[in-house]
């Protein structure tokens, strides 16, 4: 039966944990709050250590809160992170997304900084400041930075933040055996999509949408074992999904998978979603990492990385690149479909479209088509925001819940 305006407004007949108000995807004020309450106190993946191999190598990253960062390997080979904002008159210090800078010199008035964030030169300092202000007063703003969990560079903007180990908890234990040896990034691209960042993370947190992917319907869903994979929720909003075998040979054009990943069963697949917007995705021969950088409630940049083993031979690497491109490349079978999916959600959920409820109500004993992964995320979202995702403005009169048949 279709619904009239009043029925459309009525909450679903499910427990309140099993749906969210779609305004959490479109409201500018909530978005500002999310930057402050979700992204600022969280550890965020900025890049990978293989992007900064030599001393003085640097990489720029825009933190999801909007803060421009420089990640730089010091003369002591330690990786540190600083604001890419000159302490003099607020200019951008480094412009190129990556490079090598023994000293970082601001082009504006030529103040220079070393790889540890010290100001090492103020042009005509004494003439202008007469010792009232000196290099020691002009250090760069350093933020917490740690390299861990597969060689990724994590940053945190808060001085006395929760330790990274505590933030991640046991969420990445499932991947630990596979990411202990040095890895290397071979693929990077960004996608700019007019949608909410949480919708991308949702897509990474549920497999019910395998119906979207011809590839997955053929290689996964129809295979034995598919429905055995289980979600595990972890503190701080993280979640993982266990392994399955993917029958690649069921998809014409997928050659037999030879290169694999050390310790991973042929066709194995592990996924870990890190709150509030990062995903580790290890499938067959490639580790993919997604990082969301939201630009607004209805606009997001997603950074995609593909990684192999640092010790790969040229032939092994070629095979990983092929596997990556087939599914996850910008022209790959699945990535385009996933992006099209969240683009469609963004199109339907704009202020004024009168979209209303997002149902996350599937219960299948935490197995693959259960929507517990998303529910787990929104429980943490609600806790951190101090607003329930099902009723963010405290208006609600929920409909009575219908019991299972």
């Amino acid at each position: 039966m279709s619904k009239n305006a009043q029925q459309w407004q009525q909450t679903p007949a499910l427990p309140q944990t099993h749906y969210v108000d779609s305004r959490i995807y479109t409201d500018q004020l909530l978005f500002e709050e999310e930057k402050e309450k979700l992204f600022k106190p969280s550890w965020i993946i900025a890049c990978h250590e293989s992007e900064l191999e030599a001393a003085f190598d640097y990489r720029l990253f825009t933190h999801p809160t909007g803060v421009p960062l420089i990640i730089v390997r010091g003369d002591d080979m330690k990786v540190r992170a600083f604001y890419n904002i000159c302490p003099h008159r607020g200019n951008t210090i480094l412009y190129d997304p990556a490079g090598n800078a023994k000293r970082m010199t601001c082009i504006f008035h030529q103040w220079s900084f070393d790889s540890r964030g010290n100001c090492i030169d103020i042009s005509r300092a004494d003439q202008g400041y007469q010792k009232r202000f000196c290099k020691e007063d002009a250090g760069m703003r350093e933020v917490n930075c740690e390299t861990a969990y597969g060689g990724f560079v994590w940053v945190n903007l808060v001085d006395d933040c929760q330790p990274l180990k505590e933030f991640v908890g046991g969420a990445l234990d499932i991947l630990a055996p596979f990411i202990s040896e040095p890895l290397e990034v071979f693929h990077f691209h960004k996608a700019h999509v007019r949608t909410n960042f949480k919708l991308w993370h949702d897509t990474n947190s549920e497999f019910y949408h395998d119906f979207l992917h011809y590839f997955n319907r053929i290689t996964g869903m129809m295979q034995p074992g598919y429905f055995d994979r289980k979600y595990t929720g972890f503190p701080n909003g993280h979640a993982s999904v266990g392994s399955m075998e993917i029958k690649y040979d069921k998809y014409e054009g997928s050659k037999s998978r030879a290169v694999g990943w050390p310790g991973l069963a042929t066709g194995g697949w592990y996924m870990v979603d890190i709150f509030p917007g990062m995903t580790y995705n290890l499938r067959t021969s490639v580790l993919r990492i997604d990082t969301v950088v939201p630009l607004g409630p209805n606009e997001v940049i997603i950074e995609f990385r593909g990684l192999g083993l640092k010790r790969d031979t040229a032939e092994e690497r070629r095979e990983r690149v092929f596997d990556h491109n087939m599914i996850w490349g910008p022209f790959g079978r699945n990535l385009h479909e996933d992006l099209l999916g969240v683009h469609g959600q963004g199109r339907a959920m704009r202020p004024g479209t009168d979209s209303r409820w997002i149902i996350q109500g599937r219960e299948e004993n935490s197995t693959i088509h259960d929507e517990v992964g998303m529910r787990h995320f929104y429980a943490e979202w609600s806790r951190r925001m101090g607003r329930p995702a099902f009723d963010p403005y405290g208006e609600g009169k929920p409909a009575p819940v219908r019991a299972a048949a």
């Binding site: 992007e51 990556a98 071979f186 693929h187 011809y214 590839f215 990385r305 910008p330 385009h336």
Partner: protein, 156 residues
């Protein structure tokens, strides 16, 4: 510099291949390709300071790709390739030529028909010369554009 006839055969082939792909005439496109054809899309990432391969298919891989396209969910907005053949070089025997073309790709929305620039790059084609029966042996598209939104299933 190659003679007028070689240049003309090469240009015709490059332009026809673009038209076939624009028209989603996969069979027609593959008919312009030799058995040993290989299609590569590459890009350089200044972010990770590496050359990347984004697609790499031999003739059989292209057959499979085109056969599977209708089974996937794809963006249906048509794209239009604008190629300009910049240079053509041929071996001394006049059997094989290399053409370097500038490539622009536009996407047109189905609803309302707004066109937008989708991607720019450079296309290097290796061509077996045989007059009107000349065939594409290799195409390497080096994309400058790397931000392509929700992407696309059809190579350009």
């Amino acid at each position: 510099m190659v003679g007028f006839e070689i240049r003309q055969a090469v240009e015709e082939l490059v332009y026809r291949s673009c038209m076939m792909l624009d028209d989603k005439d996969w069979k027609g496109f593959l008919a312009l390709c030799g058995e040993e054809f290989r299609y590569t899309i590459a890009a350089h990432s200044p972010e990770i300071r590496r050359d990347m391969v984004w697609l790499d298919h031999d003739r059989k891989g292209m057959d499979t790709l085109f056969a599977n396209l209708p089974r996937h969910n794809s963006d249906h907005s048509p794209i239009t390739r604008h190629a300009t053949v910049y240079t053509v070089d041929a071996d001394t025997a006049g059997r094989e030529a290399t053409a370097v073309s500038a490539l622009q790709v536009f996407r047109t929305q189905l609803d309302g028909g707004a066109s937008e620039l989708f991607a720019v790059g450079r296309m290097t084609d290796t061509i077996r010369l045989d007059g009107a029966a000349s065939r594409l042996l290799r195409r390497v598209v080096r994309l400058d554009t790397r931000l392509i939104g929700y992407g696309y299933h059809v190579p350009f």
